[in-house]
């Protein structure tokens, strides 16, 4: 089961702290959304509002077209997985997964069959009679997921589902989450502070900061052309430098780019390290950075990470992810270029 979600001008304060400020967001049925942001940005508060654990001071929550703003969690078509999994330690995995069905009055035999089916989906049917304390973190997360999906919610809310797992397991689980979401078709709203996780898993990423939505869109667009400087910096490492908007063009220290600037006057420009490449590898029409002197370089496996000073802007220290060949020696001069499509420009503030 699945349903669209609409948030209309949600606002909420904790004392003097503005936790959510005028949040408006449409989520399509069956979409995989991640709410991404640093801790304290309001993403978990927003999830609580969606789950019915918190009634916002202002705004409306619509799930499947119905106003759910004041409906408590118990009567919402949502299910939540909690950061600490919140499994019931005194129940077997099967009883944990069947709990929601038991509350809905499903008969013992039927709910056992349905719980087993969900446990099978997450690969834990063999341990159905075990208790949660016998499981590893990744397995507990799977049980929490099975328990939430067993009630066949329209919307599944995941609060930092992979936050407590080690990196390798996290990457494996995120593929699994995505596959499960495809299979059940439920709308997933997933809160995380890990931008790689968000990029890998989401149909659409919502970047939040200080209670507001900074940017919302497809992962590739958010990464390459973020809507705000905050989103640009939060999504990954970036080279930041000054430019100018004049006469409908963006002027950079390396020459002009023929693209309408976001504003006339001073601009802040951002360029991802991997958008900087050797000139011979760059496409036609890229922005020529020109000869640049290598300060240092290190081999990272997938790429070489180098700090370079371009002759065209000697005050600048560019970080570049160059193809993974032998790292260039310090002092070497490389001819660089950057894809203009990867150059993000924002009106300079302050």
């Amino acid at each position: 089961m699945t349903a669209p979600v609409t948030l209309e001008r949600i606002g909420h304060s904790f004392g003097s702290l503005r936790a959510l400020d005028d949040i408006t967001l449409d989520i399509a049925a069956g979409e995989y959304i991640t709410l991404l942001g640093p801790s304290g940005c309001g993403k978990t508060t927003l999830l609580s509002v969606l789950g019915g654990f918190l009634t916002p001071d202002a705004g409306r929550v619509l799930i499947g077209g119905e106003d759910m703003t004041r409906v408590p969690a118990v009567r919402r078509p949502t299910a939540t997985t909690f950061q600490d999994y919140a499994l019931f330690p005194h129940m077997t995995l099967r009883d944990n997964v069947a709990f929601g069905l038991r509350m809905a009055g499903v008969g013992r035999r039927d709910r056992r069959a349905r719980a087993d089916q969900k446990l099978d989906m997450v690969g834990l049917l063999a341990q159905a009679d075990a208790h949660p304390h016998a499981l590893s973190g990744g397995q507990r997360q799977r049980v929490a997921l099975a328990r939430a999906l067993a009630v066949e919610p329209d919307v599944l809310l995941l609060d930092e589902p992979l936050g407590a797992l080690d990196l390798k397991l996290r990457r494996a689980m995120q593929d699994e989450l995505k596959a499960i979401q495809r299979e059940v078709g439920t709308t997933f709203v997933h809160v995380t502070h890990d931008q790689e996780e968000a990029l890998a898993i989401a149909d659409r990423i919502v970047v939040m900061n200080a209670g507001r939505i900074e940017d919302a869109g497809a992962p590739a667009r958010i990464y390459r052309q973020p809507a705000s400087l905050f989103a640009a910096e939060f999504m990954g490492e970036t080279n930041r430098f000054s430019g100018r908007g004049t006469g409908g063009r963006i002027e950079t220290p390396f020459g002009a780019v023929d693209r309408p600037p976001p504003a006339e006057g001073p601009l802040t420009l951002c360029l991802r390290p991997e958008a900087v490449r050797p000139r011979e590898a760059a496409a036609q029409g890229s922005l020529a950075i020109g000869p640049s002197r290598v300060r240092d370089a290190a081999f990272f496996g997938t790429h070489c990470r180098a700090h370079l000073t371009p002759d065209a802007a000697p005050d600048l220290l560019l970080v570049a992810h160059l193809p993974a060949v032998d790292p260039p020696a310090p002092g070497a001069v490389l001819d660089l270029a950057a894809e203009t499509a990867d150059l993000a420009a924002f009106a300079a503030t302050g």
Binding site: G51, G52, F53, P72, A73, V74, T78, A79, T80, F82, Q83, D84, A86, L87, F88, P89, H90, F99, G100, M103, A104, R147, A148, V151
Partner: protein
């Protein structure tokens, strides 16, 4: 040599100091003579037979068991609901309420007993096992509250939220999630209340009249002098307390590991 010997001697001395009175009590309950003093003659079970044949004593024993079970149940129930309310809801003056609930721990049993006695006589309620039970609830409630409140952690909060999220009504949340998760603390509070009520003398003495609890019965027998009968009763009382402690150990602490 002295390094291993000294702690051994010290440890043995400490345990002898603690358990010698109990051991003497139990030993002379098997005395064949009429005085529980050395030399030991026996063993004999005649005093146990005597005790169990005594209707007043067996009645007092059953009274004590009833008061202990009932007052412990009430104290645990009230302690749990108070702890749940204060841990899960923001109330005005939470800290004050908490302090008021725990404060009776610092009041001596004599004062609690006297206070209750005055109040009961004022409002014209006759003394009985029920009033002694009320006294035991008064002294055990703060303990039950403190034990259960201390174990209501954040882990339980999310499990309760999860249960609500999955469609559980409030009563179901408490009965199916909160109580089972807190079972070790609740059982610990229950068994502790039972042993405290079982051994309690002053309040029971002040608040009972015709039907009395075992400690009060023993006290009235003591006035007619020493007898191995008392040792036999004391041993039985000790046996019940030990059983409660062993049950606590088996049911509560075994589950944790």
């Amino acid at each position: 040599m002295t390094r291993t010997l000294l702690p051994l001697v010290y440890g043995s001395a400490a345990f002898v100091f603690i358990y010698l009175p109990v051991a003497a009590l139990v030993l002379f309950s098997f005395q064949d003579g009429t005085l529980p003093v050395p030399p030991f003659e026996g063993p004999s079970l005649r005093w146990y037979a005597d005790v169990l044949a005594d209707d007043d004593l067996t009645a007092a024993l059953l009274n004590s068991l009833g008061v202990a079970l009932l007052s412990a149940s009430v104290a645990v129930t009230l302690g749990f609901t108070a702890a749940y309310g204060l841990a899960r809801h923001r109330l005005p003056g939470t800290a004050l309420l908490r302090a008021l609930l725990i404060a009776p721990l610092t009041v001596s049993y004599l004062i609690v007993g006297l206070g209750l006695l005055i109040v009961l006589q004022r409002i014209g309620i006759g003394l009985s096992l029920w009033t002694a039970g009320i006294g035991h609830v008064v002294i055990n409630l703060p303990l039950c509250f403190a034990i259960i409140y201390a174990s209501m952690g954040a882990q339980n909060v999310n499990a309760e939220r999860a249960a609500r999220d999955l469609g559980a009504r409030e009563a179901q949340v408490v009965l199916l999630v909160t109580v089972p998760m807190l079972a070790p603390a609740i059982l610990a509070a229950f068994f502790l209340s039972i042993t405290l009520s079982w051994d309690e003398f002053i309040i029971a003495f002040l608040l009972t009249r015709f039907d009395v609890t075992l400690p009060v019965e023993i006290w009235s027998m003591l006035r007619s002098g020493l007898s191995p009968r008392l040792n036999a009763i004391g041993s039985l009382v000790f046996l019940v307390s030990v059983t409660a402690v062993i049950l606590l150990e088996l049911v509560v602490f075994r589950r944790r590991s």
